[in-house]
Amino acid sequence: MRSFLLCMVAFAACAAPPPRFSFEGDELPTNDAAWNVRWRTEPAEIPLNAPFQIEVQVLPADGSHPPESLSLEVDAAMPQHRHGMNRLPRMVPLGDGRFRAEGMLFHMEGQWELYFDVTEGDLTERGQTEVFLE
């Protein structure tokens, strides 16, 4: 009986589905494709010169579960103007590779680059995308 239970547990573990993104949003790989980053903003339309949040989920590209030690920083800059945000968002870990960046604020219209820096151990990788605000 005991060996039967162990087999069942082992089977259940083997049959666990690969991690999936838990919400709809834009998706991008990090620069050496080790991670996939999905993100969405709250509110959905980024407001000009007012605070907003970004919900982010980071998943390993190999389909494994995100490690507990995974960390994320979110930042943004306007490359044409050569300046960034005037604030550093507060990162709130939500578990299973999910994070919320609170206190984002884009104070100008135009092209913004959005950076997702994923750190695991000694390695940081960046996912980067562009947002145009008008």
Binding site: P51, H81, H83, G84, N86, L88, R90, H107, E109
Partner: protein, 429 residues
Amino acid sequence: MIVAAVIFSIVCAAPQDGLSPERLARKLSRLSPRAELAPDPTNAVADDERAARLGRALFFDSRLSPDGKFSCATCHDPERAFTDGRSLAEGRETLTRHVPTLLDVGRRRWLFWDGRADSLWSQLRHPLENPIEMDGDRLALAHLITSDKTLRTSYERLFGPSPDLSDSARFPAHARPGPEKGEDPRQRAWEGMTPEDRTSIDTLLANVGKSLAAFQRKLATKDSAFDEFARAYLGGDRSGDGRLTEEARRGLELFLGKGQCTLCHMGPELTDEEFHHIAVPPLNDDLPLDAGRYLGATLVREDPFNAGGAHSDERDGEAADFVSLLTSDADQFGEIRTPSLRNVARTAPYMHQGQFATLEEVVRFYSTLEGAQRTGHHQELTLKPAEFTAAEEEDLVAFLRSLSAPLAEPSWSVDPHAETSGEVEERSR
């Protein structure tokens, strides 16, 4: 702070003469009408008329300075749109920056050119205790409030009992925190007080600041000719019915189009309430290099009177969030707060050191960027010459002149001491 007309002219400033009516309407809708003045949850008496009356009495009271020479109104003169008309402020010495107007100051996100204060109520201690401005101190202020029967009554109706300062060993006549140059006896007196007694004085200082803030929130202006035009245009009257001159109308299109001024002077307040490198050369070679926001961000984040501090009436709200998340890095060196352009024609001279005497000079500078000076490398490159024609410069100035409007409640700008023989109005009610 709201004085300089920072007409940012931006890269990619391709001529866009003649915005389509739809595009003009969309852009206009972002600039007008103005929203109601937002509440300030960090100040429980922000919209209390009694606090505003107390604040007004104190604003015009020269007893806030030790020799009775300076009141707030000395530099923020109601007859000059609450500025002093000079390039650089004149306190006990000449300061290094221009006096900002207080018109519509209740709408500002940050105070001072470097944003070192995040609320109207918390900015009081800077001019009050600066040795080259009013040179007052918070203990003298506390003694004034508690010894003047009228002031004390007004204060206690708002904030409860004032501190008992009768023990002069605990509460010296003069004291303020440092650091300052040299050995300041007032700093030593402050350091000799117990933490509890210092806290009680700081609370009074914050409360007085909140009263002054309530008064300054009353310095709101009415709609301008531009707002009237926008209301008509957005209501379907594409002619604007003469509410703007032809020159101002063309200037509006330059403001929204070719000049791309709204990149920084955005929204109904015509400011992003943030900080930029404006590249304007200093007024003269004697002035020190202005660190601007680089220092201001640090000062406001560390300010015990900021929105997240012990004296705030909402320590965990959006205002506290704003200040707690601030960055302070080398890129911000020399950044200056974007002033509102509302009432800009009334607040000459312009820029943070009053470098330009007229709006024409301001517009000419941003048209050519002649003499522009960078304070270092690794900094913002927003500015490019707008290359306005002479006629366009005149049109843009005409538009800027359409942004003026009188106070909505002008009675608030009158010195109550002149009206009621030195009594706070409260007393006669």
